[in-house]
């Protein structure tokens, strides 16, 4: 088991008649930052909760840090740090009181020095006496990460930790995630931000409770097999209208004065976009397929399969 932090096989979870997670398998190498992507309601939170023993899967097996997720939830809970999607520390306790409480729940020896070290590490010392409710979003997330990593877990499960946080706070947060990762901590993090996804070593994309792809982040685009062209210039709307009906074009993404036209069939796609080459004010060039295009493509395909 060396080298693997989490390994799950065929995880399935139903709420009533709705299958939220369907036959989900994946393996997370130790020390990796693993990105967990997918639309809202795709089963990311449910999967994470099953991995740390908060939910019992209806079927499937798995281990986290060498412990069975079905039979040894307590061993896992004392070695895993879990950060919930919604801030879930005590708003009417101070920053220090919250950390102190978590340290005691984990029965850490010498609570005081552990909490002091965490306050220092996360620059929370000046805010130690502030009520958690009065912290801004970014600081709340920082406190939550400090609380989740207080017991030096070998594995961090972060559920959309940066949702609704400003760009600078998000960057700080990711600096900390990378620092933890360098120290040997395995990180599984769910996110909707593409700039965060590219920072992950691996990415799993799930939709409708199923894993659609699972690969090193720089191989995702190639695996999806999508080709992309970029058209830049003024008056793009008629061009877009025409291309949407063109053979070989699977999807179009607009970025202000440019658009990305993607398709599976490289030849047909090239023929479709080349007809606009040389038009006044337009430049047509081949582009690298981005993660976002790849995911939207996957998502659209998944929709056709499931709905």
């Amino acid at each position: 088991m060396t080298g693997i932090a989490i390994e799950v096989e065929g995880l399935t979870k139903r709420f009533g008649s709705k299958t939220v997670v369907d036959d989900f398998s994946m393996a997370v190498p130790k020390g990796a930052i693993y990105g967990f992507l997918g639309p809202n309601g795709s089963g990311k939170t449910t999967t994470i909760r099953m991995m740390c023993g908060l939910l019992k899967p209806d079927s499937g097996t798995g281990q986290a840090l060498g412990y069975d997720i079905l039979k040894q939830p307590r061993e896992i809970k004392s070695r895993v740090g879990y950060m919930t999607q919604k801030f879930s520390l005590y708003g009417d306790l101070t920053v220090r009181e919250n950390l102190d409480f978590m340290a005691r729940l984990h029965a850490l020896p010498d609570t005081r020095s552990v909490v002091d070290a965490a306050l220092e590490e996360y620059n929370l010392t000046p805010r130690a006496r502030q009520m958690a409710d009065t912290l801004s979003g970014g600081w709340k997330q920082r406190l939550a990460l400090a609380a989740a990593s207080l017991h030096s877990p070998g594995l961090l499960l972060l559920d959309e930790p940066t949702a609704g946080v400003d760009p600078k706070a998000r960057r700080d947060f990711w600096d900390r995630i990378r620092k933890l990762s360098r120290a040997g901590v395995t990180v599984l993090v769910s996110t909707h931000y593409m700039d965060e996804a590219v920072q992950c070593d691996f990415i799993a994309y799930i939709a409708y409770g199923r894993k659609l792809i699972d690969a090193p982040s720089d191989e995702i685009a190639a695996r999806v097999g999508l080709h992309t062209w970029r058209i830049e210039g003024k008056g793009l709307q008629p061009v877009q209208d025409a291309l949407e009906k063109a053979d070989g074009v699977d999807q179009i993404a607009r970025f202000g004065s440019a658009m990305h036209v993607s398709g599976k069939d490289a030849d047909k796609l090239e023929r479709a976009v080349r007809q606009f080459e040389g038009r006044e004010g337009l430049t047509v060039s081949e582009a690298k397929t981005g993660l976002e295009e790849a995911f939207i493509y996957l998502m659209t395909g998944a929709e056709d399969n499931f709905s």
């Binding site: 908060l54 809970k77 919604k86 729940l105």
Partner: protein, 368 residues
């Protein structure tokens, strides 16, 4: 600035939609007035009739039979049987009866001789409202039943009313011990249910469950402070009862402590059960009110228990507060001991066992 009717209507419609979706609040708005109406209309009777009455028959004869007949037709008394001379104290202390008619030996003979013999009515006056009407009517009943033996204006027999436990007929005597039950019901059940629901509502329960903390550890840690709060409330109220209202404490401290501890446990487990049913603190509070309302109205706290019709008394017997108030009144005012209040204690034990089992089976160990 003009108020726009369409905007007012928009808000109004939205409010109705939300009102209909919040089932519990809706049930409160419809249910509580209805329940109150039914209880006040049919169950509650501030002039209670048919109170249990026993007779210590020291003598028998036409005059005695006329008096008993008169008491029954007055509808205040419900003659339930005879009692031996030595057992009257026990019968009153254990709430077996409200009145005891004591006919002294040689009553008929003395009556005929014109000696105006005493005829005694022993009254459990701990609830002055309940006993008041019957006691008030007694002299008149005796007078008319024995009128033919008298001469002119002088009464043939001398009715003596013996108000036990609360000779001055002060309502505080009865209200204060009862209030102990009401306050504990209110605060214990509500505070625990709200404190526990708060964790789920705010999402902090997920944080707790994600640590190796056991559910039992969470429960014990959360409930213990409220046991302490309950104990403080009891001590405060006892001191106030004694020094502000002069309510005596005649019975056994041991029986009292056991009754209070049992009752606190019942209410904590009730609060715990509500917290497993409610999703928000608001719902938890509303559930507490559904229990609180009948606890006030049907427990004998505000209105005499004996005055209610059979179905209301049956419902009242289902309410833990009823048994607790009964036990505490007997202990404080009548000097009852453990054996005397046992009939009120075992229902509390059963209630606790049932509620705690229900709550524990419903408690979620995971987030499922």
């Amino acid at each position: 600035m003009m108020a726009s009717l369409s905007r007012v209507l928009a808000v109004l419609m939205k409010e109705f939609i939300q009102m209909r979706r919040d089932r519990l609040t809706f049930a409160m708005m419809i249910g509580i007035p209805l329940v109150q109406l039914l209880l006040f209309g049919y169950a509650i009777n501030t002039d209670p009739r048919h109170l249990p009455t026993l007779v210590e028959l020291g003598d028998d004869g036409p005059a005695v039979r006329a008096i008993i007949q008169g008491m029954e037709t007055s509808a205040y008394f419900d003659i339930q049987g005879m009692i031996a001379p030595g057992e009257t104290d026990d019968a009153l202390r254990t709430n077996e009866t409200t009145f005891i008619l004591v006919v002294p030996p040689n009553f008929e003979r003395d009556l005929l001789r014109g000696e105006q013999p005493d005829i005694l009515l022993d009254v459990d006056a701990s609830d002055p409202v309940a006993a008041g009407a019957g006691a008030g009517a007694f002299p008149q009943i005796v007078a008319s039943a024995t009128a033919e033996y008298g001469s002119g204006a002088a009464a043939a027999a001398t009715p003596v009313i013996h108000r036990r436990y609360n000779p001055a007929g002060e309502t505080a005597m009865n209200i204060v011990p009862g209030l102990l039950g009401i306050i504990l019901t209110m605060t214990m059940a509500m505070m625990t249910s709200m404190a526990l629901t708060k964790e789920a509502e705010r999402g902090t329960l997920e944080t707790l469950l994600a640590t190796p903390t056991r559910p039992l550890e969470v429960m014990a840690g959360k409930i213990a402070p409220y046991v302490l709060v309950g104990a403080m409330q009891v001590i405060l109220m006892l001191l106030a009862a004694r020094y502000l209202f002069g309510v005596p404490f005649l019975g056994g401290a041991g029986a009292f402590i056991i009754a209070v501890a049992l009752f606190i446990l019942v209410n904590l487990s009730l609060g715990f059960l509500f917290s497993t049913l409610a999703r928000t603190q608001m719902q938890a509070m509303q559930m507490t009110f559904f229990v609180f309302l009948p606890s006030i109205l049907l427990s004998g706290f505000m209105f005499p228990f004996a005055g209610m019709p059979g179905w209301a008394r049956f419902l009242g017997e289902m309410i833990p507060t009823t048994h607790f108030i009964r036990a505490v009144r007997s202990i404080m005012l009548k000097g009852a001991d453990m054996a005397d209040v046992w009939p009120s204690l075992w229902p509390l034990m059963i209630t606790f066992a049932v509620i705690a089992t229900l709550a524990l089976t419903r408690y979620r160990r995971t987030l499922d």
